[in-house]
C-alpha cells in the first residue's frame, strides 16, 4: 500500500529523483500505469531511465543501459538537482519529526558514540532541499515518528514555516509523508504534519498511538483507495525472482 500510494503521487510528465527500494518500485509502477512519460532520475547520474526490472542498487547497469543519458556525479547534483529542476524526490527515514525533518545518521547515544550507526546523508539532504516537492516514505511507530529526532540529516520544515527560506532551500519541502497506516501532509499554516488520509481498515487511534507527538487529524480525513487489480498484477510481475 505504501508503494501504491507513492506511485500515485507521481503525475505523467513529472521528473522524479528516485532511490532504491520502495521509491524505485513506486516510480516503475507509476510509469507502467498512469504516468508513462514520467522522467526517472537516479543519483548515480542516469537521466530518464526505463528499467524493465527492479534495480539491485542505485547504480545498477540496467539503469545506465536504459537511460537517455548518463552524467557524472557532480553534474547530477550540481546541474540537475541543486537548481530545482526535479519535480518530486522520494526520501526514506529512520526517524521523522512533526516538521518532516529526517534522521538517517544514528540512533541513540551521541554522534561520536552512537548506539546504532546508520548510513548517513547520501543524496537525501540535497533531495530534501532542492526537489520541488518531496515524499517521505517510512513505517509509522513511536520509534520512528518522534517529537525530537536524534540528528537532523535532512531538513523538512526545520522549526516551522520560515525555516526553509532562511536556510536558502529552494524546494517546497515534504509535501507528502506515506506510512503503512496512512498519509500525512503539512498544515498550510504551521507546516506541522497532519493525518489527511488513512488506509482501509486502519483505526485513527492506532495512528495516533504510533506517533510520538500529539498528532493532528485533518477534519477532511479520507480513506485511501485500495490497490487496483492492475497495480497488484504489475507489482507481482516486477518482484524479482527469489534465488534459492
Amino acid at each position: 500500500m505504501m508503494t501504491v500510494s507513492a506511485a500515485r503521487t507521481l503525475k505523467n510528465g513529472d521528473s522524479c529523483f528516485v532511490g532504491i527500494g520502495i521509491p524505485s518500485t513506486a516510480a516503475i509502477l507509476a510509469k507502467a500505469t498512469h504516468a508513462p512519460d514520467l522522467v526517472l532520475i537516479y543519483e548515480s547520474g542516469t537521466i530518464d531511465t526505463n528499467p524493465t526490472r527492479l534495480p539491485l542498487s542505485i547504480g545498477d547497469g540496467e539503469l545506465a543501459q536504459t537511460a537517455l543519458t548518463v552524467v557524472s556525479i557532480p553534474e547530477i547534483f550540481n546541474y540537475w538537482l541543486q537548481p530545482g529542476r526535479i519535480k518530486i524526490g522520494f526520501l526514506g527515514a529512520a526517524q521523522v519529526d512533526k516538521f518532516g525533518n529526517i534522521n538517517t545518521t544514528f540512533i541513540g547515544g551521541t554522534y561520536k558514540n552512537p548506539t546504532v550507526r546508520l548510513p548517513g546523508a547520501g543524496g537525501a539532504t540535497e533531495i530534501a532541499g532542492a526537489c520541488q516537492d518531496t515524499t517521505i516514505i517510512c513505517r509509522q511507530s513511536t520509534r520512528t515518528f518522534l517529537e525530537k529526532i536524534d540528528f537532523i540529516t535532512s531538513v523538512g520544515y526545520g522549526s516551522g514555516p520560515n525555516s526553509r527560506k532562511s536556510y536558502g532551500l529552494i524546494g517546497n519541502g515534504p509535501t507528502t509523508v506515506i506510512t503503512d497506516l496512512g498519509i500525512l501532509e503539512p498544515d498550510p499554516d504551521s507546516c506541522e504534519l497532519t493525518l489527511t488520509k488513512i488506509h482501509q481498515n486502519v483505526d485513527v487511534d492506532a495512528v495516533i498511538a504510533a506517533t510520538g507527538w500529539k498528532l493532528k487529524i485533518s477534519k477532511d480525513l479520507e480513506v485511501t483507495t485500495p490497490p487496483t487489480d492492475q497495480e497488484l498484477l504489475f507489482l507481482r510481475k516486477l518482484n524479482p525472482p527469489k534465488k534459492s
Binding site: 539503469l63 543519458t69 557524472s72 550507526r117 539532504t125
Partner: protein
Amino acid sequence: MSKFKSLEEAIKELVHDGDTIAMEGFTHLIPFAAANEIIRQGLSDLTLVRMTPDLIYDRLIGAGCASKLVFSWGGNPGVGSLNRFRDAVQNGWPKPLEIEEHTHAGLSNRYLAGATGLPFAVIRGYQGTDLISVTNNVAEITCPFTGERLTAVAALNPDVTIIHAQQADREGNICLWGITGIQKEAALAAKKVIVTVEEVVDAFAPRSNSTVIPSFVVSAIAIAPHGASPSYALDYYIRDNDAYIAWNAISKERESFEAWLVSEGLRK
C-alpha cells in the same frame, strides 16, 4: 618508463602508510582488486575517502588499514549495513576510526574543487542540518553579489586516487563508460593516480557517455581482469549480488571476517 605495472608493484611504489587515498566507483567499477592488494601489503594508518564506503572499505576498515574515513553514505547498497564500519565507529574495533561525514553533493564538490585547482567549492546545502556542527571542511560563505549565504566545502586532494576502468589503450589512456560517477574528479584531484583495467585495447570504440582520461595524468596502470568484482563492469560482467548478500554474514562477527581474510589469502 612504461606506466603499465603489476598491481603489486603499483601499490608498493605509490601507496604509503599514512596516505590519504580515494578509491572511487559509484556502485559500478569499484576497484576491489586494488583494495585487496592494499590489505595484502598490510598498509596502515590510511585516511580512506569514498562517497559510498561499501564492501570495499568495510574490508579495509575491518583489516585495520584505516585510521580515518571521509564519506557520505555508509551502507551495503540494496542489502543493509556495513558491519565492520559499524563495529569500528561504535566499538573502535580493530582500532578507533575517526570519521568525517558529508552529503553526496558536499563530498563530490570537495573532489571537484580539488580537480579544478581551487581551495573550495560552493554548494547550496548543509544549512539547517546537524551535519555542519559535526563535520570539518564545511563553512558558510556569502555571495559578493547578492549577499546570499551559501556553503563552501574545502578542496580534497588525495595523495593517491585508485579507480578501475574497462579499458586502457597502448599509450596508457583510460576509457570507462556506463555510470562514471566521480572517478574523473577524484583522479584529477589526486597527486598520483592508479588505474586498474579489464583489458588493453588498440583503440576505444565510440560509446555514449564514455569518459576518457588522458595518459599524461595517470601514474600507473595495472591490468586486473574482474578487478571490480563483486561489483560490476558494464559490458564485461554483472554485479555478483550473492556476494553482496553473503558479505552480511561474513562481516557480521569479527571471527567470521578474520577467517575470510585468511581464506582469501589477504592475511596469513
